[in-house]
């Protein structure tokens, strides 16, 4: 059995190093045009990829779970474009998803 202390320290390092890496190179990164472009352009791509990742994790192609997720997301998009209230949009989408999941 793997020693938990060893596993904890190693995994902590594995998680920690990539997150702190940009801050260690901060000043050099700021001088780079490419990395400045990246800092400006990447956030919306990251958000879209996180949505895709969340859908994949929830097996978007499965039925009915996947269909419920897609419809829940559509409900969020429509609500947010109309009302522009983050928590309202999320609540509507969440309840649409739960209602479809439990009653369809």
């Amino acid at each position: 059995m793997i020693k938990p202390m060893v596993a904890c320290m190693l995994l902590s390092a594995v998680a920690f190093v990539p997150r702190v890496f940009p801050f260690l190179l901060g000043n050099q990164l700021k001088k780079s045009v490419h990395l400045n472009n990246l800092a400006r352009s990447l956030p919306p791509c990251i958000m879209l990829l996180l949505v895709a990742h969340a859908l994949q994790t929830g097996e978007v192609l499965s039925y009915p779970g996947g269909v419920c997720q897609v419809l829940g997301i559509l409900a969020i998009i429509v609500t947010h474009l109309i009302f522009r209230k983050m928590l309202v949009s999320m609540a509507v989408g969440f309840f649409v998803y739960q209602a479809l999941l439990h009653y369809v």
Binding site: M1, I2, P4, A7, C8, L10, L11, S12, V14, A15, F16, V17, P18, R19, V20, F21, P22, F23, G26, L29, H34, L35, N37, L38, A39, R40, S41, L42, P43, P44, C45, I46, M47, L48, L49, L50, V51, A52, H53, A54, L55, Q56, T57, G58, Q69, G72, I73, I76, I77, H80, L81, M86, L87, S89, M90, G93, F94, Y97, Q98, L101
Partner: protein, 226 residues
């Protein structure tokens, strides 16, 4: 509204997701034969759900530590891009900056990068710290409860959709800020290529490919609201 209250309100979808996921992780860890206290310690010092879940499954399957590190490395590397958006914003003392960098997980990143104009100066720092600490607390607390009493609790199905909902709203806001459909094309191409090359690590692969495309086809500076 004060920064902590705003951070708490924005963190609610994460609360609904991290608590049940933490419960499951705590339960899995305890079932793997470790003492109940190890699960919350892992959550405290690793704070990475994907890494922790993969690790505990491989530990339970008898994998070596080297095999586990190799398996989780792509999951960890995707976070290397997150700090780029916070180099100027995270102006804290050394130790606080280290903790804040450590706390840049998916949910914290998505909320902070989208809500970067709610506060300024010291209030923004309090907002960032509050959100990071809240998310960290939810994860550790959920794991702690899961490890102690997880087998006696039934987690309602579908709670994790709260996090998906958060990401969708953040994506909409980020796309509107960018005033461009380019991110959709870039993310789409990144995902397609990653599905062919790194299907087991779709997010990490998609991120790296999208990063390359973002450097080649960046958003125009004036297109982004500062």
């Amino acid at each position: 509204m004060n920064p902590f209250s705003k951070a708490f309100g924005l963190s609610l979808p994460v609360l609904f997701t991290y608590i049940p996921l933490g419960l499951v992780f705590g339960l899995l860890f305890e079932q793997a034969g470790y003492g109940w206290y190890w699960a919350p310690l892992f959550s405290l010092f690793v704070f990475a759900g994907a890494i922790q879940f993969v690790a505990i499954m491989l530990i339970a399957a008898g994998s070596s530590m080297l095999g586990i590190v190799i398996a989780v490395l792509p999951l960890a590397l995707r976070n290397i891009f997150y700090g780029l958006s916070f180099l100027d914003r995270y102006r804290f003392n050394f130790f606080t900056r280290i903790y804040m960098a450590f706390g840049l997980v998916d949910s914290t990143y998505s909320i902070l990068v989208t809500n970067d104009q709610l506060f300024e100066g010291q209030e923004d720092k309090k907002f960032c710290i509050s959100l990071t600490v809240l998310h960290h607390f939810y994860w550790v607390f959920g794991t702690f409860v899961g490890a102690l009493v997880g087998s006696k609790i039934t987690v309602p199905a579908g709670l994790e959709f709260a996090l998906t909902a958060l990401f969708v709203v953040m994506a909409i806001e980020q796309l509107e800020k960018s005033k461009s459909l380019k991110p959709i094309l870039i993310a789409g191409v990144g995902l397609l290529v990653a599905a062919m090359i790194t299907p087991s690590y779709l997010l990490a692969g998609g991120l790296f490919i999208s990063a390359i495309l973002c450097m080649i086809f960046p958003l125009k500076d004036k297109a982004v609201v500062a």
